[in-house]
Homo-oligomer: 206 residues x 2
Amino acid sequence: MKHNKEGNTEQQILEAAETLFLEKGFALTSTTEIAKVAGCNQALVHYYFRTKENLFEAIFEKKARLFFSVIFQNEGADRSFEQRLKETIEAHFDIVAANSKIPFLFINELTTNQQRLITLSEEFVSAREEAFRKVEQELQAEIKKGTIRPMELIDLLITVISLNLTLFLVKPIIKVITNISDEDFQKLIAHRKQENVKIILNSLKP
Amino acid sequence: MKHNKEGNTEQQILEAAETLFLEKGFALTSTTEIAKVAGCNQALVHYYFRTKENLFEAIFEKKARLFFSVIFQNEGADRSFEQRLKETIEAHFDIVAANSKIPFLFINELTTNQQRLITLSEEFVSAREEAFRKVEQELQAEIKKGTIRPMELIDLLITVISLNLTLFLVKPIIKVITNISDEDFQKLIAHRKQENVKIILNSLKP
DNA sequence: ATTCTATTTAATAGCTCTATTAAATATCGA
DNA sequence: TCGATATTTAATAGAGCTATTAAATAGAAT
């Protein structure tokens, strides 16, 4: 049975670590700093998670799961392929917007640490394989019908990801360069969401 | 007068630093490692550049200059706006492709180090301001003519950057997940270049 | 050959970081 | 209350890092 003084120390460490890792990545975040933000002794970080690596992985996996949780809106034969694609793009955009630091964390850690990538890909790639196959079939069926120009699913995927991620990847840069207010950035986000949908749907036309 | 044993030590340090900084960013690269790759004593890195920060800035500025060197192909009234835009997109894509690690370096350093961003933006943003104004005027003229749907230059810019950068930002991820060969990745790049041009030009239609 | 300067080296100060340990303290059940 | 267990703390080992220093070496100029 656990019995901490005030609240849940382990939880506070997790929250502090999440904030800091998302802010600066694994390398620039120290367990000393995590402890300071969590309001506890530095040794406690290691008491609960033994290594900084373990702590990071707990958070990274959780975020990976969230990030890949959007799947093509397959259900409902009452809606057209285009309509369901639109909904998927919007859902993906919304998740990225609500977790706007995840893209940076991902690219940062997966680029500098190949091993992390290998472990992750095993779990996620195979889990998505079946879903991909189904959507690919639907896409090719649409192409055969002539409603969409010839293309592969991977092309569509790259386009969606490119358009939906980049705004948030360069968010800190835009903020400093343009001095844009939070309110105006929110407006820009809402505008880009519609813009992205428009661009992508346009790009499918035969 | 300089007189090193073999070759130019300073140059070798610069080259080693460039490789490593592009690979892993500022924080994960040590002067010890730079010296090892450059084939010299670690103290020499500090002898020539005094601080790691100085060395980094030398490389970062050079890369920033390269990265922002593409400007809208203004010259030549014989070519249409669309044709010149196409050439600009392709030139931008080519520069990114030839320096595919720069986007990662940029986003990594500018996100984790606000100060670097502030220094950089002062130099570059003001230098580009005039060029932007001119292209914005041309764009609005096209819109008035009815050849392009109503939009602002910043929208077009975000779209171009999004599509042109992301493939290279996620390159390490794609390589591990898909086990794609270098040759096939080159093919993917060539394909995406045309795809991006197509998507962007399509997105302008009224 | 000698002197002057530039380059290179080994050694190390001083710092921060991760992780561990032993001791102290708190909490629970009996 | 008491003992067992969980949590917390201070201290520190051990490693790596940046930057400096003093001494050694090489090359050019006189």
